[in-house]
């Protein structure tokens, strides 16, 4: 499973600045077991956002937000609520946020930081990748992760190496930053590119030593116990 923890509420409110309405998406997979994006947390988030003066057009918890087909089919019947919202708050891991952002032509904000479990894998394998950096940047980058989409994991924008939209490493690989540019342009968010992003805090990328040698069955409860600093 992928372990995620909720971002501070103030950070989330910052993402929603200038927006009036929001649709909340929760995930009944790993985010539910992490206690960061299941039905309980979605309900709490809804209340807090309403208290903060936001209009919540709707909320839905889907089985696996990391699977684009499930995202699209799961929202059937809720289209009007999604369309009515200025943006979508996605309460799950980095994979789920990226899959939702790729599936819906809507601004998507991450509500969680994905925590490094020290090499444990087991996610639904889509084309999105998450580096479990513990400081999710997806709000600034149109829901495409620069750490995994860019071969140099650059946070400050493209290097000079792209040619015809492809990475200098391989003509088969898209330049991650060009994907980010095109996504932000399509969503009317190009001004996000001018924001300075601090270098990553690598101490958050280091898993707790206990999490690096624990069997999978024990990992889920342990990850919550350790509750990443």
């Amino acid at each position: 499973m992928i372990f995620s923890e909720p971002k501070p509420f103030e950070e989330i409110l910052g993402y929603l600045e200038g927006e009036k309405s929001v649709f909340i998406l929760g995930c009944d997979g790993c985010a539910q077991s992490s206690g960061s994006g299941g039905p309980v947390q979605v309900e709490e988030m809804k209340k807090k956002l309403v208290e903060a003066g936001k209009k919540v057009t709707g909320a839905k918890v889907l089985p696996f937000l990391c699977e684009k087909a499930l995202v699209k089919s799961g929202l059937r019947g809720r289209v009007a609520e999604v369309v009515a919202a200025d943006s979508i708050l996605v309460m799950t891991c980095g994979l789920g946020v990226q899959a939702v952002a790729a599936s819906l032509n809507k601004v998507c904000h991450p509500a969680c930081n994905t925590v490094n479990l020290g090499g444990s894998r087991g996610e639904w394998p889509g084309s999105e990748r998450c580096k479990e950096c513990g400081q999710c940047l997806l709000d600034s980058t149109g829901g495409i992760c620069p750490l995994t989409a860019c071969t140099k994991s650059l946070v400050s924008g493209a290097c000079g190496g792209a040619n015809n939209g492809k990475c200098e490493l391989s003509p088969d690989r898209d330049c991650g930053w060009e994907l980010i540019y095109n996504r932000l342009k399509a969503k009317g968010q190009l001004e996000k590119l001018k924001k300075f992003i601090s270098p990553l805090d690598h101490s958050k990328l280091m898993p707790d030593p206990k999490l690096m040698s624990t069997p999978r069955y024990a990992l889920e409860s342990l990850a919550q116990e350790v509750k990443v600093k």
Binding site: T151, K152, S153, L154, V155, S156, G157, A158, C159, G160, G161, A162, N163, N164, G165, E168, L169, C175, W177, E178, Y181, N182, K185, L190, L193, K194, F196, S198, P199, L200, H202
Partner: protein, 293 residues
């Protein structure tokens, strides 16, 4: 006059490149320094160019200081984390190095040690920010320095882009670099004055000196190779033809002349020229002379 004084007083600056070689033999560096001293305002010292392991840019920059040629210490983020980068910057300052060019750096997989771990703890923008902070007497986390540097930081920008996203991303990043402290720019090689003019129209509002990049052509094959393999380099067909048509004994002269003509066409549009001779350092004085600088 130092590079900084020259650019800040609005005078046209000339820079070139000194590339450290693999090994400890510095004969060629000394020959090039003797030849370039007094002819150029400063020389870039490349940092493991193309991710090929060589003698270091910090040591060679210090050699240049000792020999009276002002260095531009190139620093990439490929091989060092933020502790090593900041420490090397402090070391550079005590060795008399004033100019630093902040680069992200090519991927190790494109060089001669493809097995190496790519670092990229910082990138060009965050490195510039770190340099600015050191200039203010603080390290990246805000600790006070005892004695502070006063670097003149620069950065690079690519003129030729073949997608809208690529061009816009270059311009946005240029703005980010300026905000983070870049005070001059050197460009990737340019072979089309018209393209450069359009580019300069976009960056003119930033009010930062730009030195146009020039790589003299050695033959038609080199031009074709760069068009196919070097991102951001575009040699127009007529220049390739000119090189192909030149008889063997005239080729060198033709390459020098094309470089000089490009400088003549573009010098009115920018604040300086950066000649990257790539092994042809000995021709740099001839190019400068033919360009009438």
């Amino acid at each position: 006059m130092s590079l900084q004084a020259k650019l800040e007083s609005g005078k046209f600056a000339i820079t070139c490149e000194v590339g450290p070689l693999k090994g400890t033999d510095i004969t060629e560096i000394e020959e090039n320094v003797a030849l370039l001293k007094g002819r150029v305002d400063a020389a870039n010292v490349t940092d493991q160019q193309s991710s090929v392991m060589r003698l270091g840019s910090l040591a060679v920059s210090a050699l240049l200081v000792q020999r009276g040629l002002e260095p531009i210490f190139q620093m990439t983020c490929r091989d060092r984390n933020r502790i090593a980068l900041q420490s090397d910057l402090l070391s550079a300052w005590v060795l008399g190095i004033k100019n630093v060019l902040a680069l992200t750096g090519d991927l190790p997989s494109l060089g001669d040690h493809p097995q190496a771990k790519p670092v990229y703890d910082l990138d060009s923008v965050t490195l510039l920010k770190a340099i600015s902070q050191l200039n203010e007497g603080k390290d990246m986390v805000g600790n006070e320095l005892k004695g502070k540097p006063d670097f003149f930081p620069g950065a690079v920008v690519k003129v030729e882009s073949n997608t809208e996203a690529s061009l816009e991303l270059q311009l946005i990043k240029m703005e980010r670099k300026i905000a983070a402290g870049a005070r001059f720019f050197q460009t990737q090689a340019v072979y089309d004055a018209g393209h450069f003019e359009q580019f300069m129209k976009r960056v003119e509002p930033f009010k930062v000196p730009v030195l146009v990049g020039i790589i003299p052509l050695k033959n038609a094959g080199m031009a074709k190779y760069m068009n196919a393999n070097v991102a951001g380099v575009f040699v127009p067909d007529d220049l390739i033809q000119k090189m192909a048509n030149a008889p063997k004994e005239e080729r060198e002269k033709t390459g020098v002349q094309i470089a000089a003509d490009l400088i003549k066409q573009m010098k009115g549009m920018c604040q300086g020229v950066h000649i990257m001779a790539i092994g042809w350092e000995k021709k740099v004085p001839a190019i400068i002379e033919a360009a009438g600088l």
